[in-house]
């Protein structure tokens, strides 16, 4: 039972982190019709910025944290302005390929900077003792994971309030439904696009910290964790924000359970699945879900496929 709770907790917290990136991905797709494959790269860029500021430059952690996340948002904004604005109206496929190019660009620069040794982000929870974790009834809760879960929940609540209540939030929804009608209301669609990318960048920055913070460390392979957002988005359906959250939770929980129950599973089926199986499992889940629901669990039918 304790193992189960432990796995569930870790899965949920991972899922919350993935859902931040996934929401950014869906926002961009809905509002601007761009499948941004650069989102996972933005995640590691955010982590890199925090690390560079907090560890290399010695900036106090919380300042570095905020500045790093904001900078990630601004990088997203600049990406939209420079690379994607001229591509408005081009086929979804070409724009998607362009974002893969941006992704490679960001990662190459970043990997060069990361080098071979893992980099730390200056985890503020380490100083709390017991390896930055608390023990509740036998379940080890890492502060980082608790924080990830809370941040995820809070951001999702804030965003849903933003979309329902605020002027720009509603305008963003309107733009995603009917760009021309939005223009006719006097909504500055260009500014909305910028705002969408800024928000998505900020979300990626948050996720970057939680994926690579603490003992996880930022390495050249951190990108692979961020990449798991793509199966999450595919499971949820490309254009549904609740879908993105649920897809992320499915992926997170899968990873959590596989990590804890793989040995038991191998005992039952009689052969080894290998040490990296928890990394592959999300893709397997995606594979099976897409066989039965090709548009994802919550996706609309006419969504263009790439």
């Amino acid at each position: 039972m304790i193992t189960f709770l432990q796995a569930t907790f870790e899965g949920l917290s991972l899922g919350a982190v993935y859902s931040l990136v996934a929401i950014g991905f869906v926002l961009i797709y809905k509002a601007t019709d761009v499948l941004s494959f650069a989102q996972p790269a933005l995640v590691v860029v955010g982590a890199g910025l925090i690390s560079a500021l907090a560890v290399d430059r010695g900036v106090p952690f919380w300042i570095a944290f905020i500045v790093g996340i904001l900078l990630t948002g601004i990088i997203g904004l600049v990406m939209e302005r420079t690379f994607l604005r001229p591509m408005v109206g081009e086929p979804v496929f070409s724009v998607a390929i362009l974002t893969i190019g941006i992704d490679i660009l960001l990662r190459t620069v970043l990997n060069n900077w990361i080098g071979l040794n893992p980099r730390y982000l200056g985890d503020p929870f380490q100083s709390f003792g017991n390896f930055g974790s608390v023990n509740v009834g036998g379940v080890t809760l890492k502060y980082l994971e608790i924080a990830a879960l809370f941040t995820g929940v809070i951001i999702i609540i804030l965003l849903s309030v933003f979309f329902k209540r605020s002027k720009y939030g509603v305008a963003m929804m309107a733009t995603s439904y009917d760009q021309e009608a939005a223009l006719a209301q006097g909504i500055n669609v260009g500014r909305i696009f910028g705002l969408v990318w800024l928000i998505s960048g900020v979300l990626a920055g948050f996720a970057g910290f939680f994926i690579t913070g603490g003992f996880n460390t930022l390495t050249q392979a951190s990108f692979l964790s961020a990449l798991r957002v793509l199966p999450a988005v595919a499971i949820g359906g490309l254009d549904s924000i609740p879908g993105a959250v649920i897809g992320s939770l499915i992926i997170g929980l899968t990873q959590g359970y596989v990590a804890y129950y793989q040995l038991m599973l191998e005992g039952v089926i009689g052969f080894s699945l290998g040490s990296g199986f928890s990394l592959i499992a999300p893709y397997l889940i995606m594979f099976f879900i897409l066989i039965f629901k090709p548009d994802g669990l919550f996706g609309t039918k006419e969504v263009e496929r790439v």
């Binding site: 509603v170 929804m173 309107a174 009917d178 009608a181 223009l183 006719a184 209301q185 006097g186 500055n188």
Partner: protein
């Protein structure tokens, strides 16, 4: 006064859609712009409100003025700010959002007066108040058209451009909409009415322009247009008195439609 001078619009760099049209909408009046499919009515509206970009269109000649300010090629948001609101053809409400949210979006440029404008819209269209919390996609066609007009009124425009408000509505609703347009006009909003339903449009407007393949072929006060023989035959479906009802079978195909320029 909203004035269009010698406007020429080209789509996709090759398709000449407006061939230098000029018209004027004096303050406080209802002016109608009539014409058959593809004559360029909607393009003229798009040119005014700056929505040509999304259709790959360009203004190649001519100017558009509102109160002597040149708004040719201005940003749509600036044009809305100057007090020109367009009701798009086919209503184009945000059907996933509620009625209130739609109205709030209409007031995007005029956020401070949202409450007051919403009261005004609810006063004009009481049915929208009842439906305020409903998802707008589930409204009936007439209610959706009212919502589209109400949404445009939320920016408190001086000029309201209506693109086929009668489209797809039952005759009774068309009548209701036309009465509402008159009422909106009496509140001091100048209206440009683009219509296929010439009967309804000419009844409520003071002046009419008739378009054909990108040109304005006729321009007269509405009563005069209603008396015009060609307009009666080709737009109002009336025959000259005493003549037999014509059957299209007996008419040469090239004479079935009025060709003004030949």
């Amino acid at each position: 006064m909203l004035a269009v001078k010698n406007l020429e619009v080209v789509y996709q760099d090759v398709i000449l859609v407006l061939r230098g049209i000029s018209f004027e909408i004096p303050k406080g009046e209802i002016v109608s712009l009539l014409g058959s499919n593809g004559s360029g009515k909607t393009t003229a509206l798009r040119a005014i409100t700056g929505l040509l970009d999304t259709q790959n269109g360009d203004i190649t000649k001519g100017q558009i003025f509102v109160e002597d300010e040149d708004i040719t090629d201005a940003e749509p948001s600036k044009i809305v700010n100057l007090g020109i609101a367009q009701v798009l053809e086919g209503r184009r409400i945000f059907s996933e959002l509620t009625v209130t949210e739609n109205l709030r979006l209409g007031g995007f440029t005029n956020n401070d007066a949202v409450k007051q404008n919403m009261e005004r819209v609810f006063g004009l269209f009481p049915i929208l108040k009842e439906r305020a919390k409903n998802i707008s996609g589930y409204l009936s066609g007439g209610e959706q058209q009212m919502l589209a007009i109400g949404r445009a009124l939320m920016s408190d425009p001086k000029y309201l451009l209506l693109d086929e408000p009668s489209l797809g509505l039952a005759p009774k609703l068309v009548e209701q909409i036309s009465e509402l347009i008159v009422e909106i006009n009496s509140q001091g909003v100048t209206v440009l009415l683009v219509e296929q339903n010439a009967n309804m449009a000419l009844k409520i407007s003071s002046h009419g322009y008739i378009m054909e393949t990108g040109n304005i072929v006729m321009d007269n006060p509405s009563e005069k247009l209603m008396q015009d023989k060609d307009v009666q035959e080709f737009y109002l479906g009336l025959n000259a008195e005493g003549t037999e009802r014509k059957s299209f079978k007996d008419v040469k195909h090239y004479k079935r439609k009025k060709r003004w320029l030949s």
